[in-house]
Amino acid sequence: MARRKSARQQQLERAALYPLDWLEERSGLIGGVRYFLFRKVPGDTSWWHTLGSATLTAFLVQLATGVILAMYYKPSPEQAHESVQHITDDIWGGWLVRGMHRWGASVFIILMFMHMGRVFLFGAYKYPRELNWIVGVLLLATGLFEGLTGYLLPFDQTAYWATVVAININGTAPFVGPFLASLLRGGAEIGPDTLSRFYSLHMLLVPGALMGLIGLHLYLVVRLGVSSPPWSDEAAGAPREPDPTPARSGLVQPRPRTIRGRPTE
């Protein structure tokens, strides 16, 4: 009885795995996903290491809610504020989606800063991960720009005057400032073109740039591996090389450069 059940199980297993096999044989995708998800990480990674994926999750929430909001939002000065009111008050669940997008934006920015603080305090930006730090800085700037462009869209008094001030701050930059301000406004004064311009930047250009940069960021994370905490005794999946200096090192004293526990000679 038990044997027959196990045979049935095997049959079921084969049937379930067949489509995956089919896909793997033709695309290698299954192996790629396994390579991406089932990597070796140092044994003493902690909750601090989850801040990066938390930021990614916040970004995905912004993407999903933003797509839905774009279905109802109308980027013209006469209709923008009314359409936001319509989303909030009339459309079923609109208050929730708009609330997620509005508060999620702050969460995204806050998580980016926390993730950056973690990387800084853990020294995870050091060799060989400097490039990923640079990509992260670009992500931070792009994310802040996304926040700036999104802030205008409700088109109420707060949004309008905050954008006036933000654009004029850009305008005070030496030499290029006046041109930068005109470029952001789409003209000499804030008007209908400014709103649609910010809308286009907010939902097309900047998210595209963010996605590209996030892809690069993740590629480097996968390629270089997750760094150990500074107090760690192990590299990814392996004990660390014994320290030539017996005193506690790694935070203050230089230690020999290693990648994944291997000396780089």
């Binding site: 005057w161 030496p174 470029l183």
Partner: protein, 318 residues
């Protein structure tokens, strides 16, 4: 046919110009369908003639082969050997020395890159120009009719709000502080101060009461204008960062870098007309006798005089 590997002659048709003529005929015919029947007829003739000649070329094996004759010394495999698979045996062409490349491969590479760059530029440049240039085109600002000058009693400030660009709607609503200074050399004189703070562009408020109940609504050629009497005893104050100005718009405190901007004005048929905006470094004197240090309109936070103005030598056209 002594070649041991069999017939090494190329089997593709020899080079010929007729297919090109054939293609031209097709294009001419299709264009003619839109443009004129004459072109259709011409296209059909070209198509038939070139097609026939092309077919004859292919059928007869063409004229003399073009290009260099195949080099001698080919084929050293044993006689009657089976056909050699493409990936085995001797290379069809001699391997280039390390660092050396075939001229044709170099040419093809640079041609691909070059044509790609040209196509990319042709597509991208207009798009970038479309996105960027309109922001820097000189925009003519409409003059704004604020109604009869009788609505502006001498020596009193009025808060006038109006549409700067009526076709843009409410988003272009602006506010100016207007004071009738009486006559100067027999002509009416007005002080027309913009409410845009010279720090970061917030709207400044009169430092004193505004008498909302005495608001006058005037309909002019520029749309609805509202005029509210005001008593800015403490000058003008910005709510954002505490910039303060006196009654002539001179900066007295806070972060602004210059005085308040002003509007040019004129009188037309007894109506007060606001023209272009200009920037003001400072004003000496007051009222009709004020001496205004006038500059081209600059953005908020930008110095117009002194060494700091060297940081903003160029301004986009307004």
């Amino acid at each position: 046919m002594d070649d041991p590997r069999g017939d090494m002659e190329r089997h593709e048709p020899p080079p010929s110009l007729w297919p090109i003529g054939f293609a031209v005929g097709v294009v001419c015919l299709l264009v003619g369908l839109i443009v004129s029947w004459v072109a259709v007829a011409i296209g059909a003739v070209i198509l038939v003639v070139c097609g026939a000649l092309w077919a004859r070329d292919v059928a007869t094996g063409g004229s003399a082969p073009v290009g260099p004759a195949p080099e001698a010394g080919e084929g050293e495999a044993a006689p009657d050997a089976p056909a050699v698979p493409a990936h085995k045996g001797e290379a069809a062409m001699p391997e280039p020395a390390p660092g050396e490349r075939f001229p044709r491969s170099v040419f093809l590479e640079s041609a691909t890159l070059g044509i790609g760059a040209v196509i990319g530029g042709v597509v991208t440049l207009p798009v970038i120009g479309f996105a960027v240039l309109p922001a820097f085109v000189k925009q003519h600002s409409h003059s704004v009719d604020l109604g009869p000058i009788d609505n502006f009693p001498e020596g009193e400030y009025q808060v006038a709000t109006f549409l700067r660009e009526p076709e843009q709607g409410e988003v272009s609503r602006r506010t100016a502080f207007i004071r009738n200074n009486g006559l100067l050399d027999g002509k009416p004189s007005f002080t027309c101060i913009s409410n845009r703070c010279a720090h970061l562009g917030c709207p400044v408020q009169p430092g004193g009461p505004t008498f909302d109940k005495k608001t006058k609504k005037v309909v002019t050629s520029s749309g609805h204008v509202s005029i509210i009497p005001s008593l800015p005893a403490a000058g003008f104050i910005c709510p954002c960062h505490g910039g303060a100005y006196d009654q002539e718009g001179n900066r007295t405190a806070g972060p602004p870098v210059r005085g308040l901007d002003r509007y040019e004005f004129s009188i037309r048929n007894g109506h007060l007309i606001l023209g272009n905006t200009f920037s003001v470094a400072s004003v000496s004197g007051s009222g009709a006798n004020a001496e205004i240090h006038k500059y081209e309109l600059a953005g908020p936070g930008q110095h117009v005089d002194g060494p700091e103005s060297w940081l903003y030598p160029l301004q986009p056209p307004h």
